[in-house]
């Protein structure tokens, strides 16, 4: 029996390593702390134009705030996907919209600079004010919809874009504080054609 198992492992070692790697990666993703909480995801339809409303609570850690004070720019990626459910097959992606917002501390101005989801730059005297401003997202235009299907699945995820961090912080595997993201929020929506 052991011999058979050993032979099987020998023959399928690459497949086993690949599967084990995948499982390990998925578990590590699942284990990441969710520091952005997205609420009240809703889709607003204006004719064929689709707008998204949502609330977000961003719980920056003291290290991140300290990082902000030390010139680090926090850029958050927002990824919105609208998919059509196909039974027994992969979902059909109907619409993808990506955007960013960022927070930066301006030492010269002694203010927090915020560029919101629509690209508008604003200055705030303190961080809570900046975060409060970012909390509510209203009428974020994500695209037009030509889909005849009525029922679609909307999913939204926000995560810190580490590519904008200084390289040493990006590649420091030991430092996990920059693994900052929300859960993937999904919601079935009814579309009026």
């Amino acid at each position: 029996m052991m011999g058979y198992i050993m032979q099987f492992l020998k023959k399928n070692s690459i497949v086993i390593i690949f599967l084990a790697g995948n499982i390990f990666y998925s578990l590590s993703l699942a284990a990441t702390v969710k520091n952005i909480i997205v609420n009240d995801l809703s889709i607003v339809q204006d004719n064929k134009d689709i707008f998204v409303d949502f609330d977000q609570e961003i719980y920056l850690t003291s290290k991140m705030i300290n990082g902000l004070k030390n010139g680090i720019i926090l850029v958050f990626d927002i990824n919105f996907i609208l998919t059509k459910d196909i039974p027994y097959w992969f979902d059909d992606i109907i619409l993808v919209k990506k955007s960013q917002y960022k927070i930066k501390y301006r030492n010269l101005l002694e203010k927090f600079e915020v560029v919101d989801i629509n690209g508008e730059k604003l200055f705030f005297k303190d961080l809570p004010a900046a975060l409060k401003y970012l909390k509510i997202v209203k009428k974020w235009y994500v695209g037009t919809l030509n889909e005849k299907e009525k029922k679609l699945l909307a999913s939204l995820r926000i995560q810190l874009n580490k590519n904008h961090l200084p390289k040493p912080l990006q590649i420091n595997i030991k430092d996990k504080i920059w693994d900052f993201q929300s859960e993937e929020i999904t919601k079935y929506i009814e579309v009026n054609n």
């Binding site: 010139g71 680090i72 301006r106 101005l109 730059k121 961090l165 912080l169 590649i171 420091n172 430092d175």
Partner: protein
């Protein structure tokens, strides 16, 4: 392994380059890619460690199994590895130290203070400019508050121009524009934020912002008017762009300060990353070096191992072993070529030696065959009379049986076997003692063994071999030859005697009878008696001479026999019947079968009669004379045995009993047994005689048996 390690090294170098690239602040490789690269590098190191561990295990296993070249490979691997590990480790330690110090040196206190000072200067400049705006704003607010509503627009423009402001706007509490003056008339004013207005209800409120990479000062302050009711809750908004020179300087100071702060913030991570990367480089370099050292060591030690293995094979006698030449023109290649040439020559020499050995073996076998089949005995002795070589005939001639005589002293063996060989031993010893070279020395010796006399001729020759003198002894049993020669001589004598004597005998006899006949009646009685006696004597003696001459004639006659199939049993019974009147008991044991021989019946009868007569003569004074006749079947031979209990034959006579004129009887010619021997020879048989243990003799005749059948 030969190709695996270079491929792995190439992969390692590629990974390192990618890792180094990703360390730079470029968008070439993302963070995730770096992490993946980092993990790949670690996996790669693990693979290298595994590979090296396998190699070490295999090498140790080879050493344990004492495979040629493995120890040399281990030494080379250790040497090569140390050659790399020591300098690389030193470089690593120096690099880490240097890097850490260099990174720390970036964050000098003076630099930080200077940057903070620069930033502070910028901030203060902006604050001064804001203060200046405030003063200008208060002046405008006061002036507007004391100006009539008709003149407000003009005054506002004059004061904006006077103070060199970008834009001045008067809003009421409902954010309606009451008056506006702008340097850029085409630009529509942006409605201020409610919270900014709220803050400026009672006092000055200024905001410093960056718009399109220019620093903009925005100030709000209330207008206090005693003249115009509309202006009572109105406020003034002033916008002023900072000169681009100041803006650029301030922003660049801020940018550098930010960079510095970011670097300072990520200093720890930077240290970790560089140390980790350097460690990875070190590990990769060392492990790759060790892995490559295996290949190089094997490449170096392989020809030497092959040489050692081939030498081992050659020492075992395998001269066909060659080492594959790989066309290298270095010293090792030359060594391999020379070795192969040497083995070829060795192989050729060995082949020749083997061929020679084979030829020698064939010659020896040929000599052995000759010696084995040689009827003459050959014995080779050295100067100590030690037997070096002999053939079977040698042992047979000297009656040594099948004894192992090689390396034994010839004289000891011969004398131990029979003292009668002493003359031969003395003869050989006398020549060997002289240590002289001999050629064709020979002498004949009469040796008595077992009632028989043998004549042995010894011939000696000496040969020199490797400086030692050896002697070849040739022994020939020439008894039969001598006897044959003697018989032939006797036959010739007998034939001549018979011829010379027989002719005058008849005239003598006739003359004596005629003398008696003529004188018988002429003589007196006395003379007549004397004549009669004399003639009778002459006639008797002539008759006796005739008998003797006839016997001589028989002995000398040429072999002429008429062979028929003879039933021996009937023949013996016939002969036995002849002696019925004699007072001697002849006992004949009749066989179970009738045995037949091919021969001359008369001659064989003559043989039987002769033997019975001899036996009868030997039993003249014996009380109970008895002759036993017996025939036996032995394979293809018929044994005819005649046994008596007579006086027997003296030892002196018995060895020559079959020779003519040898007899133990007082009368007779001594030709009887010689004739018997001749007849038996003519019948391809043999005859032997021996004295019995008790009394009498036994004669054994062996004749070829033709057939047998039940009687």
């Amino acid at each position: 392994m030969r190709y695996l390690i270079p491929i792995i090294s190439l992969i390692g170098i590629t990974l390192l380059i990618l890792l180094a690239k990703s360390l730079g602040n470029t968008d070439l490789l993302s963070t995730e890619t770096f992490r993946l690269l980092f993990i790949f590098n670690i996996l790669f190191i693990a693979a290298l460690v595994l590979l090296i561990a396998i190699q070490i295990f295999r090498l140790l296993n080879s050493i344990k199994k004492e495979i040629v070249g493995s120890k040399l490979t281990l030494r080379l691997v250790i040497s090569f590895a140390l050659m790399v590990i020591i300098p690389v480790s030193i470089v690593y330690l120096v690099s880490v130290n240097f890097l850490t110090k260099s990174i720390n040196s970036w964050f000098d206190v003076k630099v930080e203070s200077a940057l903070e000072g620069g930033l502070s200067l910028g901030q203060k400049t902006l604050n001064i400019l804001m203060r200046d705006i405030e003063l200008k704003g208060r002046s405008i607010a006061y002036t507007i508050g004391n100006t009539s509503i008709d003149e407000q627009g003009m005054v506002l423009r004059d004061m904006r121009e006077k103070f060199n402001l970008e834009e001045v706007v008067i809003y009421d509490n409902q954010l309606n524009i009451l008056a506006l003056s702008s340097a850029n008339d085409s630009q529509i004013p942006v409605i201020p934020k409610y919270e900014d207005i709220e803050r400026s209800t009672n006092e000055f409120y200024g905001v410093i912002e960056e718009v399109n990479e220019r620093i903009l000062l925005r100030a709000y302050l209330p207008i206090i008017s005693n003249q115009d009711i509309e202006l009572r809750n109105a406020f003034l908004e002033i916008k002023q762009l900072i000169p681009s020179e100041i803006t650029n300087l301030a922003l660049s100071v801020e940018s550098v300060y930010d960079d510095y702060k970011r670097l300072a913030y990520s200093r720890k991570s930077l240290n970790i990353i560089y140390t980790l990367t350097l460690t990875l480089v070190l590990m990769l370099a060392i492990l790759s070096a060790v892995a490559i050292s295996f290949v190089i060591s094997r490449r170096f030690s392989e020809p030497l191992s092959q040489l050692a293995a081939a030498t081992k094979e050659i020492s075992k006698g395998n001269f066909k072993k060659t080492i594959p030449e790989q066309g290298k023109k270095d010293e090792l290649g030359l060594l391999v070529t020379s070795f192969n040439s040497m083995t070829k020559q060795l192989d050729s020499a060995t082949q020749n030696a083997e061929n020679n050995q084979h030829r020698l073996e064939l010659s020896r076998m040929f000599l052995d065959t000759i010696l084995t089949n040689l009827s003459s005995g050959v014995i080779v002795i050295d100067q100590g009379m030690r037997i070096r070589l002999h053939n079977p005939a040698g042992l047979k001639t000297l009656q040594l049986g099948r004894a192992k005589v090689v390396n034994k002293i010839l004289s000891e063996i011969l004398l131990k076997n029979n003292k009668m060989y002493k003359p031969i031993v003395d003869y050989i010893y006398s020549h060997v003692k002289g240590k002289t070279t001999l050629k064709g020395f020979s002498q004949e010796f009469k040796i008595k063994t077992n009632d028989k006399e043998k004549i042995i001729r010894v011939q000696m020759n000496s040969i020199k071999q490797d400086g030692d003198l050896n002697y070849i002894l040739l022994f020939d049993d020439i008894t039969e030859v001598t006897e044959g020669q003697r018989h032939q001589a006797w036959s010739e004598v007998a034939r001549r005697l018979a011829h010379e004597i027989k002719n005058p005998l008849t005239p003598i006899q006739l003359s004596a009878e005629r003398v008696e006949h003529k004188l018988k009646n002429k003589l007196n009685k006395v003379d007549k008696n004397i004549l009669s006696k004399a003639t009778h004597t002459i006639i008797n003696q002539v008759n006796a001479l005739k008998i003797m001459v006839n016997e001589f004639s028989d002995y000398a006659r040429p072999a002429k026999i008429e062979k028929t199939l003879i039933n021996i049993d009937l023949l013996i019974n016939d002969v036995k019947d002849l002696y019925e009147a004699v007072d001697i008991e002849i006992n004949y044991e009749q066989p179970q079968k009738n045995l037949f021989v091919h021969g001359d019946e008369n001659k064989l009868r003559q043989v039987l009669v002769n033997l019975i007569d001899n036996a009868k003569d030997a039993m003249n004074n014996i009380k109970n004379p008895l002759i036993n006749l017996r025939i036996e079947e032995h394979k293809n031979e018929l044994y005819l045995i005649v046994k008596d209990n007579g006086t027997g034959v003296s030892k002196d006579v018995i060895s020559n009993i079959f020779e003519p004129y040898v007899t133990s009887k007082s009368h007779g010619t001594g030709l009887g047994l010689a004739i018997v021997l001749k007849i038996i020879d003519e019948h391809n048989g043999t005859i032997s005689i021996k004295n019995n243990k008790g009394m009498g003799t036994t004669v054994l005749i062996k004749l070829p048996l033709i057939k047998n059948e039940k009687s």
